[in-house]
Amino acid sequence: MATEEDASPPETCDGPGAGPEYEMSDRARRIVEEQGRSLREEGMLPSKVFNDDGIFEAELRQIFGRHWVFVGHESEIPEPGDYAQRRIGRDPFIFVRGEDGEVRVLFDSCSHHGSKLCRAEQGNTSHFRCPYHGWTFKNTGDLAGVPLKHQAFKGLDPEEWGLHEAPRVTNYKGMVFACLREDAPDFEEYLGDFAWYLDIQLEIGKGGMEVVGEPKRWIADSDWKSGADNFAADSYHTGVTHRSALDVGFGAEEISGTAGQETHRHVTHVDAGSTSLRLLHPDDEIYYGYPNEFVDTSSLSEDQRRMAAACGAETGTIFPNLSFIHVAATDDPDDDLAGYLAFRQWQPLEAGKMQAWSWILAPADASDEYKQRAHDVGMATFAGPSGNFEQDDMAVWDGVSEAAGSVYAERHEFKLNYQMGRPGMSEAEIDEDWYGPGLGWDDNLEEGTLRTFHGNWNKAMSGEEVGMSYPEDHI
């Protein structure tokens, strides 16, 4: 009979195919613990988290390796064989619609010797052929051909050597998310009550929403969390960072969300997300600036419809790195405002460095003319590197990561102030009458939205399930 000493080592796999559990360094663990304590007790955030190699390595595994990450919208690959290169964290995947019409997320590495199969950014193909030894895979991932198989791989079972797939993939109302952890909660459970808000974004457009044009991509010396945190949402910065764009008239002041206006709301503790709303008078029926003929509220609940009708702009972040902005704005101050939805993904490149991806969406049944205008307004405002609002965000965030990477920040435990909205700080109060899920605030001069994001970050880095709910997670 085996004694305790010669028993097998403890089980370290957390699911089939999940591999060994990641051991975070003691140093990174200390930073995570300090982040949690500071956030909870003081409303402060150790600056270090925005630029630290150890934290970054842990994030790739604990966050991007274990949580639902956006891959793309199904309207980007409408035809069988359509594909696009995508990243989950830094890992290469192929987002592809197979000849059977199924959308898959395939690991972009030949099952033979590992070369990347997908060499173009997007396109259409029936097969992926490896340029190394010529193994060929169908667009479903099945192994279709091995050169000289009868001489070289007689005993090989092709069924066992197809391309790997992301273990979990879901198509949520057109948005495809994947998770590299086999035993993760279902996406709906992960998203939780935030679905109430996300559904409004995805269903408000007549015919649903569709992507207009290919995503824009650019790099910045900013941490991926700076973007996620800002869109989660930081209403305090709008009137300062974006002052020039507001002054020239690329957006309306009451819509664009400068802080302290009566009609603005923050909603925190909505499981995987938080959001900021610019609610105008419900009788205005503004619906994010869409012309009425392109709006369809039939699938929304009465309360969702009420919110959408009044909403001129909304931003939010779904943990970890998908943000959105849904807003009425203009590329020309002499022209009318037009609505668009933009998804933004903050892709981690290295500590303190990201690649931003931006998709612009418009109602699928809108005219081609409106879709192009929605794109152009998005591009000229928030949804690309040349945006008159967007330019200034990236101009300030890189300062955060530069200082965060300093010896001073580490040695002196430099902490950032995330206290707005905590007791004794701002006048924002919990709105008991808020009709949506989560914790509604009667003002946007509060930072519970950001603390919700960083609270989820702490849970994820600590190996706990993401999901903030009031009051137990109140920070």
């Binding site: 193909t125 824009k216 991509r217 002054d247 020239v248």
Partner: protein, 178 residues
């Protein structure tokens, strides 16, 4: 805005004279951009200018499709939207432009095509040095496809497509004109 009378784009110049004139035009344009004299730069554009920077994509050779998107752009401007962008740079709160970026536009390989009606198609290569802070300097490479027109005897840009060689824009923001 009165419709400009069509003018002969070549103004009767020889190929060599025209090449010289077009190159000098681009050098002056580059100087205005590098000196951040954007109001003067706007004067080099026609009233009905179209100024575009399509998103570039990496496509397979076999795709036989343009690598430049028809719907996704980083600039898709007319005169009014360009003027609004220039207005914003004039604000004291335009952080992307303060401190002003240090830029150098290097224009080379100027190829003047055959006149097409009143327009002169010209292709040129452009290398941009861009830096704003201490460690963010970067190089951007592109080809420009222009249609030049003559207004009151002077060359102006009537249409420009900036064809980036980058699929991922190597800058934190695009706050310059190319």
């Amino acid at each position: 805005m009165s419709k400009q009378e069509p003018e002969d784009a070549t103004a009767g110049r020889s190929d060599v004279e025209l090449q010289h004139e077009v190159e000098q035009f681009y050098y002056r344009e580059a100087e205005l951009l590098d000196d951040r004299d954007l109001e003067a730069w706007l004067d080099l554009l026609t009233e009905d200018v179209e100024y575009a920077m399509p998103t570039r994509l990496i496509r397979e050779k076999a795709a036989e499709r343009s690598p430049f998107s028809e719907t996704s752009f980083n600039y898709h401007e007319d005169r009014s939207t360009l003027e609004s962008r220039v207005d914003r740079f004039g604000s004291e709160f335009a952080w992307s432009d303060d401190p002003p970026a240090r830029t150098r536009h290097y224009v080379t390989n100027v190829r003047v095509g055959d006149p097409d009606g009143e327009e002169l198609p010209v292709k040129s290569n452009l290398l941009l040095f861009w830096a704003q802070r201490e460690n963010d300097d970067t190089l951007v490479s592109c080809e420009r496809h222009d249609r030049l027109r003559r207004v009151d005897g002077d060359l102006k840009v009537a249409r420009r497509e900036v064809r980036l060689d980058h699929n991922v824009v190597p800058m934190k923001n695009i706050s310059v004109f190319l």
